[in-house]
């Protein structure tokens, strides 16, 4: 949002999250909400990342561990299925990879510049635990 002059904003440094009536927010998914430019949903922290998570749906069991433990509301789960990562809001902490229980993991961290298709094509194989 542009820096405006003292006479160009609402009094009290007050902010609104939604345009118009919010409706049943707890029952409305993000893509169906009418956010204002003042919601941080409209902003991006993508430039914080050094590494990014890459999601390989072939191994995902939809356990939703990554969804619940993601601090940045960046795991997109719809209809009980993990469908992707919100790369505008992901800060690259790597928690989702750590809590992923599959073998091989369905999420792995790669350098920010890495190409997703290439990494998925070269995904590591199942690890065999030493007994």
């Amino acid at each position: 949002m542009a820096n405006t002059g003292w006479d160009e904003f609402e009094i009290g440094a007050m902010l609104r999250t939604f345009e118009g009536e919010a409706g049943d927010i707890a029952g409305t998914l993000q893509e169906d909400r009418n956010y204002t430019q003042n919601s941080s949903f409209s902003a991006s922290v993508a430039d914080w990342r050094i590494e990014k998570p890459v999601f390989n749906k072939d191994f995902c069991i939809d356990c939703q561990f990554c969804w619940i433990y993601c601090p940045d509301i960046s795991i997109i789960s719809r209809d009980k299925k993990m469908i992707g990562i919100d790369m505008d809001h992901c800060k690259g902490c790597g928690i989702c990879v750590e809590v992923c229980p599959t073998n091989p993991k369905s999420l792995l961290m790669f350098p920010e510049q890495a190409e997703e298709e290439v990494e998925i094509a070269n995904w590591p194989a199942k690890e065999t635990k030493e007994k």
Binding site: W6, F9, E10, I11, G12, A13, M14, L15, T17, A22
Partner: protein, 407 residues
């Protein structure tokens, strides 16, 4: 409505505290969040008793400190309803952090401040140290000199503060004990008339409107903070005075009682004038009349509105005056005194030839006697006759020991 109306006589004998409590009842405050402190306690006790007797509907939240009292008021006000409380002195000092937060968030809370000295040493009596402490906090400040005015100014304060063009909190000051505990005749309004003057509360940016979620109390750093503070100052300077004038005019129409941002007494042809606040205004008026019998053309200027400071009105009121005394009832602690500085600022760059001198008086409830004021007016006339200020610019009145004077 589920609560009972109260039958009032046309004139009731009320002290300032009870007058303020009655005003809060008649304004039908939704939430009072309060903590007791002498001498303001009876105001919130009054509200809670009215609640207990079903003369008002609302919530009384008796919290554990004045800081919490104003914090609760802020939460309640941001939620969207009419909010008021009362405090004094140390309690006011404890509230200071939240005063800035309330005004910065543009919440129209009414705070009755029953003026009392600030420790140390501890003192329960009236001076203006707490009132002065609030003067940069971004609140509107009204000053009542009597129980009648404490009653009236509460209605005016709500009317101005809650206006959507204003949305700023307001204090109604009265002097501890001298006003708060001194019963006088108070002309009342009946409940319906009184309520109609303030009207129904009109919510704005209210947290309890679930269709419009709102974020209050954000962080702003060097890229935004200045603009928000500037906006608030602009509204105090440009929007508030007009709303106050409008409220004063409506109130006069309703009750016949006329208020002015600057209250002038015998100023039209005055040579010498005293500028003061609170109960001292009445004393000064009485003495000014007596001085005229002695041939000294004396007048009195009382400040009704302390913030926003009525810069132009005071300049106008003092036009043509030859000698002016400012009476500060708070120790300036190393400066000339708030009124002295403000008046000097208002008169500087004007055509005035007035001789300005400052006086400190009445700390911790020390009486300002008529004799003090007789001497003071005589001194002012002496300055006029000499064509210069013949005394130091700052003198202390009524303090024991060697004469204290500076500058």
């Amino acid at each position: 409505m589920a609560f009972d109306k109260m039958e009032l006589r046309d004139i009731e004998v009320w002290d300032g505290n009870f007058a303020a409590a009655q005003a809060l009842r008649q304004c039908q405050i939704d939430v009072v969040s309060a903590y007791p402190i002498t001498p303001s306690t009876p105001i919130v006790e009054g509200y809670s008793k009215f609640l207990a007797d079903n003369y008002v509907e609302g919530e009384f939240v008796m919290v554990e400190s004045e800081h919490a009292a104003m914090s609760g008021c802020i939460g309640a006000s941001a939620a969207g309803g009419r909010v008021a409380t009362a405090t004094s002195s140390q309690g006011f000092a404890l509230m200071v952090e939240t005063l800035y937060q309330a005004s910065g968030m543009r919440l129209p809370i009414i705070l009755n401040v029953v003026n009392r000295a600030l420790a140390a040493p501890l003192n329960v009596n009236g001076d203006h140290a707490d009132m002065y402490l609030g003067r940069d906090s971004g609140w509107i400040q009204f000053d009542a000199y009597s129980p009648q005015e404490a009653y009236d100014l509460n209605f005016i304060a709500f009317r101005v503060a809650e206006d959507h063009d204003v949305r700023l909190p307001a204090m109604v000051h009265q002097d501890g004990f001298m006003t708060s505990h001194t019963a006088q005749g108070v002309y009342t309004m009946d409940d319906d008339t009184a309520y109609s003057f303030v009207g129904d509360f009109k919510p704005m940016n209210d947290m309890l409107d679930f269709e419009h979620p709102v974020t209050h109390g954000v962080q702003t750093e060097e890229d935004w903070h200045y603009e928000h503070k500037a906006r608030q100052h602009n509204d105090l300077m440009t929007k508030v005075p007009a709303k106050i004038e409008e409220a004063f005019a409506s109130f006069e129409k309703l009750t016949g009682r006329k208020y002015n941002q600057v209250e002038q007494y015998d100023m039209d042809d005055a040579d010498v004038a005293v500028v003061c606040m609170g109960t001292s205004v009445e004393t000064a008026r009485e003495v000014a009349t007596e001085m005229r019998e002695k041939g000294i053309k004396a007048g009195v200027v009382g400040l009704r509105v302390i913030r926003p400071f009525p810069f132009m009105e005071i300049k106008e009121a003092l036009e043509g005056i030859k000698a002016i005394a400012t009476l500060d009832r708070s120790s300036p602690n190393g400066a000339a005194g708030m009124l002295f500085n403000e008046i000097a600022g208002a008169l500087f760059n004007s055509d005035t030839k007035a001789l300005l001198s400052g006086y400190v008086y009445g700390l911790g409830g020390r009486d300002l006697t008529k004799k003090h004021l007789v001497d003071l007016y005589t001194e002012l006339q002496g300055n006029v006759d000499a064509g210069k200020v013949t005394t130091p610019l700052q003198q202390f009145i009524g303090v024991r020991g060697p004469k204290l004077q500076f500058l």
